[in-house]
Protein backbone atom coordinates (compact mmCIF):
# COMPACT_ATOMS: atom_id res chain seq x y z
CA UNK A 1 0.00 0.00 0.00
CA UNK A 2 1.09 3.53 -0.77
CA UNK A 3 1.73 5.30 2.52
CA UNK A 4 2.27 8.73 0.97
CA UNK A 5 -1.18 8.50 -0.58
CA UNK A 6 -2.70 7.42 2.74
CA UNK A 7 -1.18 10.43 4.53
CA UNK A 8 -2.59 12.70 1.83
CA UNK A 9 -6.10 11.28 2.12
CA UNK A 10 -6.11 11.48 5.92
CA UNK A 11 -4.73 15.03 5.86
CA UNK A 12 -7.38 16.06 3.36
CA UNK A 13 -10.11 14.70 5.63
CA UNK A 14 -8.58 16.38 8.68
CA UNK A 15 -8.16 19.73 6.99
CA UNK A 16 -11.75 19.70 5.73
CA UNK A 17 -12.97 19.12 9.29
CA UNK A 18 -10.66 21.69 10.84
CA UNK A 19 -11.41 24.31 8.19
CA UNK A 20 -15.13 24.10 8.83
CA UNK A 21 -14.96 24.45 12.60
CA UNK A 22 -14.90 20.93 14.04
CA UNK A 23 -13.34 20.25 17.42
CA UNK A 24 -9.69 19.20 17.58
CA UNK A 25 -10.38 15.77 19.01
CA UNK A 26 -12.76 15.05 16.13
CA UNK A 27 -10.03 15.95 13.63
CA UNK A 28 -7.35 13.87 15.32
CA UNK A 29 -9.60 10.87 15.96
CA UNK A 30 -10.92 10.83 12.39
CA UNK A 31 -7.40 10.81 10.97
CA UNK A 32 -6.17 8.11 13.35
CA UNK A 33 -9.20 5.95 12.53
CA UNK A 34 -8.46 6.24 8.81
CA UNK A 35 -4.88 5.09 9.50
CA UNK A 36 -6.15 2.17 11.55
CA UNK A 37 -8.66 1.19 8.87
CA UNK A 38 -5.81 0.85 6.38
CA UNK A 39 -3.68 -1.15 8.76
CA UNK A 40 -1.29 1.52 10.07
CA UNK A 41 -1.70 1.50 13.86
CA UNK A 42 1.10 3.92 14.78
CA UNK A 43 0.21 7.18 13.08
CA UNK A 44 0.75 10.40 15.01
CA UNK A 45 -1.42 13.46 14.55
CA UNK A 46 -1.19 16.83 16.21
CA UNK A 47 -3.68 19.51 15.30
CA UNK A 48 -4.23 23.09 16.40
CA UNK A 49 -6.84 25.38 14.82
CA UNK A 50 -4.37 26.70 12.25
CA UNK A 51 -2.26 23.65 11.43
CA UNK A 52 -2.16 19.84 11.23
CA UNK A 53 1.04 17.84 11.68
CA UNK A 54 0.88 14.17 10.75
CA UNK A 55 3.50 11.45 10.67
CA UNK A 56 3.40 7.73 10.05
CA UNK A 57 6.08 5.12 9.63
CA UNK A 58 6.23 2.83 6.60
CA UNK A 59 6.99 -0.89 7.14
CA UNK A 60 10.53 -0.15 5.87
CA UNK A 61 10.95 2.16 8.84
CA UNK A 62 10.99 5.44 6.95
CA UNK A 63 8.75 8.17 8.39
CA UNK A 64 6.28 9.99 6.14
CA UNK A 65 5.39 13.45 7.41
CA UNK A 66 3.06 16.13 6.26
CA UNK A 67 2.34 19.61 7.62
CA UNK A 68 -0.93 21.17 6.51
CA UNK A 69 -1.44 24.82 7.20
CA UNK A 70 -5.08 25.96 7.57
CA UNK A 71 -5.33 29.58 6.55
CA UNK A 72 -9.01 30.21 5.93
CA UNK A 73 -11.39 29.00 8.54
CA UNK A 74 -15.10 29.65 8.52
CA UNK A 75 -17.79 27.71 10.32
CA UNK A 76 -19.58 25.42 7.86
CA UNK A 77 -21.61 22.91 9.82
CA UNK A 78 -22.85 21.08 6.74
CA UNK A 79 -19.26 20.34 5.75
CA UNK A 80 -18.46 19.01 9.26
CA UNK A 81 -21.47 16.74 9.00
CA UNK A 82 -20.65 15.41 5.51
CA UNK A 83 -16.93 14.94 6.11
CA UNK A 84 -17.72 13.05 9.29
CA UNK A 85 -20.02 10.78 7.29
CA UNK A 86 -17.37 10.23 4.61
CA UNK A 87 -14.72 9.42 7.25
CA UNK A 88 -16.97 6.80 8.81
CA UNK A 89 -17.69 5.34 5.40
CA UNK A 90 -13.98 5.20 4.55
CA UNK A 91 -13.25 3.41 7.83
CA UNK A 92 -16.10 0.96 7.31
CA UNK A 93 -15.68 0.11 3.62
CA UNK A 94 -11.93 0.74 3.21
CA UNK A 95 -12.23 1.78 -0.44
CA UNK A 96 -9.12 2.16 -2.61
CA UNK A 97 -7.35 5.40 -1.75
CA UNK A 98 -8.22 7.06 -5.06
CA UNK A 99 -11.90 6.35 -4.36
CA UNK A 100 -11.58 7.74 -0.82
CA UNK A 101 -10.04 10.90 -2.24
CA UNK A 102 -12.96 11.21 -4.66
CA UNK A 103 -15.47 10.84 -1.78
CA UNK A 104 -13.74 13.63 0.16
CA UNK A 105 -13.70 15.88 -2.90
CA UNK A 106 -17.42 15.25 -3.25
CA UNK A 107 -17.99 16.42 0.33
CA UNK A 108 -15.80 19.50 -0.20
CA UNK A 109 -17.72 20.41 -3.35
CA UNK A 110 -21.07 20.68 -1.55
CA UNK A 111 -22.85 23.99 -2.08
CA UNK A 112 -22.51 26.81 0.44
CA UNK A 113 -25.15 29.49 1.05
CA UNK A 114 -24.06 32.50 -0.98
CA UNK A 115 -24.20 36.18 -0.14
CA UNK A 116 -27.85 36.44 -1.17
CA UNK A 117 -28.94 33.75 1.27
CA UNK A 118 -26.78 35.34 3.96
CA UNK A 119 -28.46 38.68 3.35
CA UNK A 120 -31.68 36.85 4.10
CA UNK A 121 -30.30 35.10 7.16
CA UNK A 122 -28.75 37.98 9.03
CA UNK A 123 -31.82 40.25 9.04
CA UNK A 124 -33.72 37.24 10.36
CA UNK A 125 -31.22 37.00 13.22
CA UNK A 126 -31.32 40.74 13.91
CA UNK A 127 -35.11 40.98 13.70
CA UNK A 128 -35.88 38.13 16.07
CA UNK A 129 -33.13 38.90 18.55
CA UNK A 130 -34.40 42.45 18.84
CA UNK A 131 -37.83 41.06 19.71
CA UNK A 132 -36.16 38.51 21.96
CA UNK A 133 -34.51 41.27 23.99
CA UNK A 134 -37.81 43.12 24.32
CA UNK A 135 -37.80 45.54 21.38
CA UNK A 136 -40.92 46.66 19.56
CA UNK A 137 -41.80 45.61 16.01
CA UNK A 138 -40.41 48.85 14.58
CA UNK A 139 -37.15 48.39 16.51
CA UNK A 140 -36.90 44.90 15.07
CA UNK A 141 -37.26 46.24 11.53
CA UNK A 142 -34.46 48.75 12.14
CA UNK A 143 -32.32 45.95 13.58
CA UNK A 144 -32.97 43.87 10.45
CA UNK A 145 -31.79 46.73 8.22
CA UNK A 146 -28.69 47.20 10.40
CA UNK A 147 -27.89 43.49 10.19
CA UNK A 148 -28.18 43.45 6.41
CA UNK A 149 -25.95 46.51 6.06
CA UNK A 150 -23.44 44.96 8.44
CA UNK A 151 -23.36 41.67 6.54
CA UNK A 152 -22.89 43.48 3.24
CA UNK A 153 -20.01 45.54 4.65
CA UNK A 154 -18.30 42.51 6.18
CA UNK A 155 -18.65 40.55 2.94
CA UNK A 156 -17.02 43.45 1.13
CA UNK A 157 -14.18 43.70 3.64
CA UNK A 158 -13.59 39.95 3.54
CA UNK A 159 -13.19 40.10 -0.22
CA UNK A 160 -10.18 42.35 0.35
CA UNK A 161 -8.86 40.01 3.06
CA UNK A 162 -9.25 42.47 5.89
CA UNK A 163 -8.57 40.69 9.19
CA UNK A 164 -11.34 39.43 11.44
CA UNK A 165 -10.67 41.99 14.18
CA UNK A 166 -11.20 44.92 11.85
CA UNK A 167 -14.24 43.27 10.20
CA UNK A 168 -15.97 42.89 13.55
CA UNK A 169 -15.00 46.39 14.59
CA UNK A 170 -16.49 47.89 11.41
CA UNK A 171 -19.58 45.69 11.74
CA UNK A 172 -20.19 46.92 15.27
CA UNK A 173 -19.59 50.55 14.28
CA UNK A 174 -21.96 50.40 11.31
CA UNK A 175 -24.80 48.92 13.32
CA UNK A 176 -24.26 51.60 15.97
CA UNK A 177 -24.25 54.47 13.46
CA UNK A 178 -27.33 53.21 11.62
CA UNK A 179 -29.21 52.80 14.88
CA UNK A 180 -28.35 56.32 15.96
CA UNK A 181 -29.47 57.58 12.55
CA UNK A 182 -32.79 55.78 12.99
CA UNK A 183 -33.21 57.32 16.42
CA UNK A 184 -32.41 60.81 15.10
CA UNK A 185 -34.97 60.32 12.33
CA UNK A 186 -37.50 59.56 15.02
CA UNK A 187 -38.09 55.99 13.87
CA UNK A 188 -37.50 54.41 17.25
CA UNK A 189 -36.28 54.98 20.75
CA UNK A 190 -34.71 51.76 22.02
CA UNK A 191 -31.08 52.14 20.96
CA UNK A 192 -30.01 49.28 23.21
CA UNK A 193 -32.28 46.53 21.94
CA UNK A 194 -31.65 47.41 18.29
CA UNK A 195 -27.87 47.38 18.67
CA UNK A 196 -27.88 44.18 20.71
CA UNK A 197 -30.14 42.48 18.18
CA UNK A 198 -27.95 43.48 15.26
CA UNK A 199 -24.76 42.57 17.12
CA UNK A 200 -25.94 39.02 17.73
CA UNK A 201 -24.98 38.46 14.08
CA UNK A 202 -21.33 38.76 15.03
CA UNK A 203 -21.57 36.58 18.11
CA UNK A 204 -20.88 33.25 16.29
CA UNK A 205 -17.28 34.48 16.25
CA UNK A 206 -17.28 33.95 20.00
CA UNK A 207 -16.94 30.17 19.98
CA UNK A 208 -17.56 29.33 23.63
CA UNK A 209 -18.77 25.84 22.76
CA UNK A 210 -15.84 24.80 20.64
CA UNK A 211 -13.12 26.03 22.94
CA UNK A 212 -14.73 24.48 26.00
CA UNK A 213 -15.03 21.16 24.21
CA UNK A 214 -11.41 21.40 23.07
CA UNK A 215 -10.18 22.19 26.58
CA UNK A 216 -12.23 19.38 28.06
CA UNK A 217 -10.94 16.83 25.58
CA UNK A 218 -7.42 17.73 26.70
CA UNK A 219 -6.40 19.94 23.77
CA UNK A 220 -5.44 22.85 25.95
CA UNK A 221 -3.26 24.60 23.36
CA UNK A 222 -6.06 24.59 20.80
CA UNK A 223 -8.54 25.68 23.45
CA UNK A 224 -6.35 28.63 24.44
CA UNK A 225 -5.98 29.69 20.81
CA UNK A 226 -9.74 29.68 20.31
CA UNK A 227 -10.27 31.41 23.65
CA UNK A 228 -7.97 34.27 22.66
CA UNK A 229 -9.75 34.50 19.31
CA UNK A 230 -13.10 34.78 21.09
CA UNK A 231 -11.72 37.45 23.38
CA UNK A 232 -10.43 39.41 20.38
CA UNK A 233 -13.78 39.20 18.61
CA UNK A 234 -15.66 40.33 21.71
CA UNK A 235 -13.25 43.24 22.18
CA UNK A 236 -13.58 44.23 18.53
CA UNK A 237 -17.38 44.24 18.68
CA UNK A 238 -17.41 46.28 21.88
CA UNK A 239 -14.84 48.74 20.49
CA UNK A 240 -16.78 49.16 17.25
CA UNK A 241 -20.05 49.93 18.99
CA UNK A 242 -18.21 52.09 21.50
CA UNK A 243 -16.76 54.23 18.70
CA UNK A 244 -20.17 54.66 17.10
CA UNK A 245 -21.70 55.76 20.39
CA UNK A 246 -18.90 58.08 21.46
CA UNK A 247 -18.14 59.87 18.18
CA UNK A 248 -21.57 61.53 17.78
CA UNK A 249 -21.42 62.61 21.39
CA UNK A 250 -18.08 64.27 20.76
CA UNK A 251 -19.12 65.90 17.50
CA UNK A 252 -22.73 66.92 18.13
CA UNK A 253 -22.70 66.88 21.88
CA UNK A 254 -25.85 64.74 22.09
Amino acid sequence: MNHEELVNVATEAGSLLLRSGAEIYRVEESMLRIFEAYGVPDGDVFAIPSCIYVTLTTPQGAPVTRVKRILNRSVNLDLVDRTNDVCRRICREKPPLAEAKRLLDGAAGRPVFGLRAQLLGSPLVGFFFCLFFGGSLLDACVAAVCSAAMRLLIAGLERYRVNAFFCNLCGGAVSGFLTLAAVLLGLSVNTDTIIIGALMNLVPGIVITTFMRDMMAGDVVAGLIRFSESLLVATAIALGVGVSLVLPRLIFGV
Partner: protein
Protein backbone atom coordinates in the same frame (compact mmCIF):
# COMPACT_ATOMS: atom_id res chain seq x y z
CA UNK B 1 -46.68 35.46 26.84
CA UNK B 2 -43.18 35.13 28.16
CA UNK B 3 -42.82 31.88 26.31
CA UNK B 4 -43.09 33.75 23.01
CA UNK B 5 -39.35 34.28 23.50
CA UNK B 6 -38.82 30.60 22.73
CA UNK B 7 -40.37 31.18 19.32
CA UNK B 8 -38.08 34.18 18.77
CA UNK B 9 -35.09 32.07 19.78
CA UNK B 10 -36.16 29.38 17.32
CA UNK B 11 -36.55 31.88 14.47
CA UNK B 12 -33.22 33.55 15.11
CA UNK B 13 -31.57 30.12 15.19
CA UNK B 14 -32.98 29.53 11.71
CA UNK B 15 -31.18 32.69 10.66
CA UNK B 16 -27.94 31.44 12.23
CA UNK B 17 -28.37 28.11 10.44
CA UNK B 18 -28.28 29.98 7.14
CA UNK B 19 -25.20 31.98 8.21
CA UNK B 20 -23.38 28.84 9.41
CA UNK B 21 -24.46 26.78 6.39
CA UNK B 22 -26.68 24.14 7.96
CA UNK B 23 -28.71 22.64 5.14
CA UNK B 24 -31.95 20.77 4.66
CA UNK B 25 -34.04 19.20 7.38
CA UNK B 26 -31.21 19.70 9.88
CA UNK B 27 -32.17 23.41 10.09
CA UNK B 28 -35.38 22.46 11.89
CA UNK B 29 -33.76 20.10 14.40
CA UNK B 30 -30.82 22.39 15.06
CA UNK B 31 -32.99 25.44 15.70
CA UNK B 32 -35.26 23.47 18.00
CA UNK B 33 -32.27 23.18 20.37
CA UNK B 34 -32.18 26.95 20.80
CA UNK B 35 -35.86 27.03 21.72
CA UNK B 36 -35.44 24.15 24.18
CA UNK B 37 -32.54 25.87 25.92
CA UNK B 38 -34.52 29.06 26.39
CA UNK B 39 -37.63 27.13 27.47
CA UNK B 40 -35.71 25.56 30.34
CA UNK B 41 -34.20 28.94 31.17
CA UNK B 42 -37.71 30.36 31.58
CA UNK B 43 -38.87 27.28 33.44
CA UNK B 44 -36.31 27.96 36.15
CA UNK B 45 -37.35 31.60 36.54
CA UNK B 46 -38.78 30.96 40.06
CA UNK B 47 -35.20 30.29 41.21
CA UNK B 48 -34.56 34.06 40.95
CA UNK B 49 -30.96 33.46 39.94
CA UNK B 50 -30.18 33.95 36.29
CA UNK B 51 -26.79 32.26 36.40
CA UNK B 52 -28.53 29.10 37.61
CA UNK B 53 -31.16 29.58 34.90
CA UNK B 54 -28.47 29.80 32.22
CA UNK B 55 -26.80 26.70 33.62
CA UNK B 56 -30.00 24.63 33.53
CA UNK B 57 -30.86 25.92 30.06
CA UNK B 58 -27.43 24.94 28.77
CA UNK B 59 -27.69 21.50 30.39
CA UNK B 60 -31.02 20.95 28.62
CA UNK B 61 -29.80 22.00 25.19
CA UNK B 62 -26.56 20.07 25.53
CA UNK B 63 -28.47 16.89 26.43
CA UNK B 64 -30.72 17.54 23.45
CA UNK B 65 -27.65 18.01 21.22
CA UNK B 66 -26.02 14.77 22.36
CA UNK B 67 -29.25 12.82 21.94
CA UNK B 68 -29.86 14.26 18.49
CA UNK B 69 -26.26 13.50 17.53
CA UNK B 70 -26.91 9.82 18.33
CA UNK B 71 -30.38 9.73 16.76
CA UNK B 72 -29.49 11.50 13.52
CA UNK B 73 -25.92 10.18 13.36
CA UNK B 74 -24.42 13.63 12.90
CA UNK B 75 -21.73 15.34 15.02
CA UNK B 76 -23.05 17.16 18.10
CA UNK B 77 -20.93 20.15 17.05
CA UNK B 78 -23.64 21.71 14.91
CA UNK B 79 -26.46 21.29 17.39
CA UNK B 80 -24.43 22.83 20.21
CA UNK B 81 -22.94 25.60 18.15
CA UNK B 82 -26.26 27.01 16.96
CA UNK B 83 -28.42 26.24 19.97
CA UNK B 84 -26.09 28.02 22.37
CA UNK B 85 -26.20 31.32 20.47
CA UNK B 86 -29.46 32.64 22.00
CA UNK B 87 -27.94 31.96 25.42
CA UNK B 88 -24.81 34.05 24.76
CA UNK B 89 -25.13 37.17 26.91
CA UNK B 90 -25.11 39.73 24.09
CA UNK B 91 -26.95 42.18 26.29
CA UNK B 92 -24.43 41.80 29.09
CA UNK B 93 -21.48 42.47 26.79
CA UNK B 94 -23.24 45.53 25.38
CA UNK B 95 -24.19 47.07 28.72
CA UNK B 96 -20.70 46.40 30.09
CA UNK B 97 -19.25 48.32 27.17
CA UNK B 98 -21.78 51.14 27.61
CA UNK B 99 -20.92 51.56 31.30
CA UNK B 100 -17.24 51.53 30.35
CA UNK B 101 -17.75 54.39 27.91
CA UNK B 102 -19.87 56.35 30.34
CA UNK B 103 -17.04 56.09 32.88
CA UNK B 104 -19.24 54.31 35.40
CA UNK B 105 -16.50 52.04 36.74
CA UNK B 106 -18.57 50.46 39.49
CA UNK B 107 -21.38 49.34 37.20
CA UNK B 108 -18.84 48.42 34.50
CA UNK B 109 -17.14 45.97 36.85
CA UNK B 110 -20.40 44.65 38.24
CA UNK B 111 -21.98 44.01 34.82
CA UNK B 112 -18.71 42.65 33.48
CA UNK B 113 -18.37 40.14 36.31
CA UNK B 114 -21.99 39.11 35.93
CA UNK B 115 -21.52 38.56 32.18
CA UNK B 116 -18.41 36.50 32.86
CA UNK B 117 -20.43 34.47 35.36
CA UNK B 118 -23.03 33.72 32.69
CA UNK B 119 -20.34 32.69 30.22
CA UNK B 120 -18.93 30.41 32.91
CA UNK B 121 -22.36 28.87 33.49
CA UNK B 122 -22.72 28.15 29.76
CA UNK B 123 -19.27 26.61 29.59
CA UNK B 124 -19.87 24.51 32.69
CA UNK B 125 -23.19 23.22 31.39
CA UNK B 126 -21.62 22.07 28.15
CA UNK B 127 -18.64 20.63 29.96
CA UNK B 128 -20.79 18.49 32.27
CA UNK B 129 -22.95 17.04 29.50
CA UNK B 130 -20.13 16.48 27.00
CA UNK B 131 -18.03 14.71 29.62
CA UNK B 132 -20.92 12.48 30.64
CA UNK B 133 -21.68 11.68 26.99
CA UNK B 134 -18.06 10.71 26.37
CA UNK B 135 -17.91 8.55 29.48
CA UNK B 136 -21.18 6.83 28.61
CA UNK B 137 -20.03 6.16 25.05
CA UNK B 138 -16.74 4.65 26.18
CA UNK B 139 -18.55 2.63 28.86
CA UNK B 140 -20.97 1.28 26.24
CA UNK B 141 -18.14 0.32 23.90
CA UNK B 142 -16.30 -1.44 26.71
CA UNK B 143 -19.38 -3.40 27.68
CA UNK B 144 -19.93 -4.46 24.09
CA UNK B 145 -16.34 -5.57 23.81
CA UNK B 146 -16.59 -7.58 26.99
CA UNK B 147 -19.94 -9.09 25.99
CA UNK B 148 -18.79 -10.13 22.53
CA UNK B 149 -16.51 -13.10 23.41
CA UNK B 150 -19.01 -14.42 25.93
CA UNK B 151 -21.79 -14.41 23.34
CA UNK B 152 -19.86 -16.75 21.08
Amino acid sequence: MEYLQCLYAFASCVGFCILLNVRGQAILWTSLGGAIGWFFYLLCAPAQNDILQYFVGTLALAVYAEVMARVRRAPATGYLHVALLPMVPGGGIYYTMEYGIAGNTEMFLETGMHTLGIAGALALGILVVSTLARVLTLWGEERQRRAAPRGR
